[in-house]
Amino acid sequence: MTNKPVNQALAAEFGLNAEEYARVLDIMGRTPTLTELGIFSVMWSEHCSYKSSRVWLRTLPTKAPWVIHGPGENAGVVAIGEGLAAIFKMESHNHPSFIEPYQGAATGVGGILRDVFTMGARPVANLNALRFGDPKNPVTRRIVDGVVRGIGGYGNCVGVPTVGGEINFHPAYDGNPLVNAMTVGIAPADRIFLSAAAGIGNPVVYVGSRTGRDGIHGATMASAEFGADAEAKRPTVQVGDPFVEKLLIEACLELMATDAIVAIQDMGAAGLTSSSVEMAGKGGVGIELDLDQVPQRETGMSAYEMMLSESQERMLIVLRPGAEEITRAIFEKWELDFAVIGHLTDTGRIVVRHQGRVEAEIPLAPLADQAPLYHRPTAPSPAPKPVGAIPAARLADDLVKLIGCPDLASRAWVWDQYDSTVGGQTVKRPGAADAAIVKVDGHRLALALTTDCTPRYVAADPEAGAAQAVAEAWRNITATGARPLAITDNMNFGNPEKPVVMGQFAAAVAGIAKACTALDFPVVSGNVSLYNETEGSPILPTPAIGGLGVLEDAARAVGLAAAPGQDLVLVGAEPSHLGQSLWLREIAGQEAGPPPPVDLAAERRHGDFVRARIASGEVRACHDVADGGLLVAVAEMLMAGNVGATLAGPTDGGFWFGEDQARYVVAVADGAALVAAAQGAGIPARLLGRTGGEGLTLPDGTTISLATLRSAHERFFPALMET
């Protein structure tokens, strides 16, 4: 590698096209060195530069009175009251997770944790949104196993509870699973650490693990689609060390309690390159690095390798002058490497020295300002095929089949491998409520956390589908009684050079923007993962939404478990929409029709009503109606509470399995009073039935025992993974 001549052919190998390479030559005024070419190629990769997505992302609403820092920092920051801030972000690790599922998922968790604690927050919760291929594909089992073990292996060891997330299966993810990891942390609102470097002459220090040759060009790998040679790319996958991450969290938080830090950033994708370039660039200063000082795990590494290494668990910090010794003492206490590797300059350039030679010298302003920005052509998605002839619903049989299908079956097999209680603040564990509830240690405050996306809706109508994802996140937070505050978006799409894919992206951004605006639910951080294709076939467009809300009093949170002797009330319109429903796919065998329409005004009205009733103490349990429709929502509440119910109403499939939006099922002592209150507020509501007994009796007179429901619900994962 080091001996290759730098030319357009090598630039192409590094992922720069001819026009981009010409721009490099123009900025440099000469042929770049190998190290310089490496720096340009990673900084201008899709992963680091957002060159295809930036024009669209700019249109997202990012402000609200409670937003402290929106997109542009390592993670988003919102005020949650009592002088505290929640810091959160979701990020993808899709490509590495296909190549090596365990390490890909594990390092995904590690990376997002660093994005959060680098800002001064103690991480308090992890969630993850996972999409896997067809369960019938033998590869799927291996990927599920590795990803689940990887998330658990890393998250459990660092001692951050994994409290929620979601899992879908679809053949479109065969060969391109999605692993989107979200971390949430808590910090004092006036002690947020940013990445903009400042102070000419200030020392630049390296802390954490040593640098090895791992993951070189990971950022460019994340920006290219898979060919049949994906297996051969294995050596570029990074290996994570959660033990070191745990030490790094503690050491950084200890250092953050002092006034030593000017700026701090983790070395994520493109490692030392992106952290040094971004920190200096944001601060409008220059930076000089002496690579001889970098702690190294291997011998004989070149400047190119060190600048592009993606070794994990490393941070770059700009210190106040004279703070080196206190910093060294803290990192030595935690048995982590510490080295002063450079200083800030007034040159506006990054200068990289190694073994007495200048290996790179690049002006930072043009590296950032002249980064490619594409307004790629878009094309509308073709209309989904119309719904064909469908059979009449058989309520009991269809329900049993639906709650056992891969997208609705119990996720307990997965959750049972994630430590969800460490920290001692988990009020609602996975599956206990529509959003996970994590109390803030020492306060009554609690966070409500969720991830949501229904990719089949987005594929059928990208704008409506993306708006639905935001609305569902808002609804899931609302259903616990919490007030939704903000989202992080993790945009997973195919090859943006294809107009239909770019069109999906643009429409999805428009849908998110509309929903966020209507629901006062701004985007404060995010991540884009493009080129999610294998052999030219794209994934379902998947704008995963991570939502965060706050409850003033953790004791007010409600879960979804119904108890005996409660009335079940539907809040929201009576359903009928079967297009893109799971019933249509699983029972009628069709992936067809438009997704359910999203009425954001109705979402807001219905949600605000439900939240107010929860606050009043009247609601004992609440569950939003989503995948599978009304009957599935009721069944989930009954299984969670281990209680039966008798339901009344129509017997048609549209009513019980339609996936119309803006709806909740609530359990209350007096259903008639709630229905009256809703109707008084102009909100549709209907009494569905009453809980009690050991079985679910349906309006057509059939009864299903709880045991039958539960065994159907719990079969899928163990059958897939343990046989």
Partner: protein, 230 residues
């Protein structure tokens, strides 16, 4: 009660333990960094859960060799109370302060869920606030909780009444299904012969607040606090 919590690098349930101890005793426990050696004046030393040194060689193996362990041995030799939970239990067996070893879970998977425990003995300071035979709930969170000892050791533990918690069904029945990690004789927790050292895999410290789903763990800490009140 003057309690101290030992913090090895990689330990992660020290704050949970501190909350439970403070809740029961009204007194903040002292955090003991693993390089400290002076543990005089403490009534109770707790080694909490986590992944000390990444659990890389064997769970607890490296922590068991660290400097603070000599002081912990001295505390035990003085008849001081010593509690090891999860990784702490693994460390106590590796340090041979308790017999046996904790092997990989029989399922080879990390287990995180509530389990039910039967309290086998209540004439100890750890369990005095429970009823004998009482079934309590506690979260599990471990990859290596499969208790092993040779038959002679197991017979001795049983014979001397040193098995203090056993994995059971909610109704108290000892079954293979309740024994999710595969432990010998469903053993979840054991005592030293003087009943001053206890090790257990589940996490009573994570179930001391009704907000978190229950208080079944609270009597353990309240019992200790009452017995060790200064």
């Amino acid at each position: 009660m003057k309690a101290g919590i030992v913090v090895f690098p990689g330990i992660n349930r020290e704050r949970d333990m501190a909350i439970a101890l403070e809740r029961a005793s009204g007194r903040k426990p002292r955090m003991i960094w693993h390089r400290e050696t002076d543990l005089q004046g403490l009534d109770l030393i707790v080694i909490p859960g986590g992944f000390s040194y990444g659990d890389y060689l064997r769970c607890g193996a490296m922590a068991a060799q660290s400097p603070v362990m000599d002081s912990i041995r001295a505390h035990a030799a003085r008849g001081g109370h010593l509690l090891g939970v999860c990784n702490g239990f693994q460390i106590l067996t590796e340090a041979q302060l308790l017999p046996g070893a904790l092997l990989r879970n029989a399922s080879l998977r990390f287990l995180s869920m509530d389990c039910h425990l039967r309290v086998e003995r209540t004439d100890t300071d750890f369990t005095a606030h429970y009823q004998r035979g009482q079934v309590i709930r506690a979260p599990l969170a471990h990859g290596d909780g499969n208790y092993f000892a040779d038959e002679a050791t197991l017979d001795r533990l049983e014979g001397e009444g040193l098995v203090v918690f056993r994995y059971v069904e909610p109704d108290g029945a000892v079954t293979a299904k309740a024994n999710r990690n595969g432990s010998a004789r469903n053993i979840a927790g054991i005592l030293s012969p003087n009943r001053r050292i206890m090790g257990l895999m589940p996490h009573p410290e994570d179930l001391v607040d009704p907000l978190m789903g229950g208080t079944d763990g609270a009597p353990l800490f309240e019992g200790l606090s009452a017995a060790l009140a200064a």
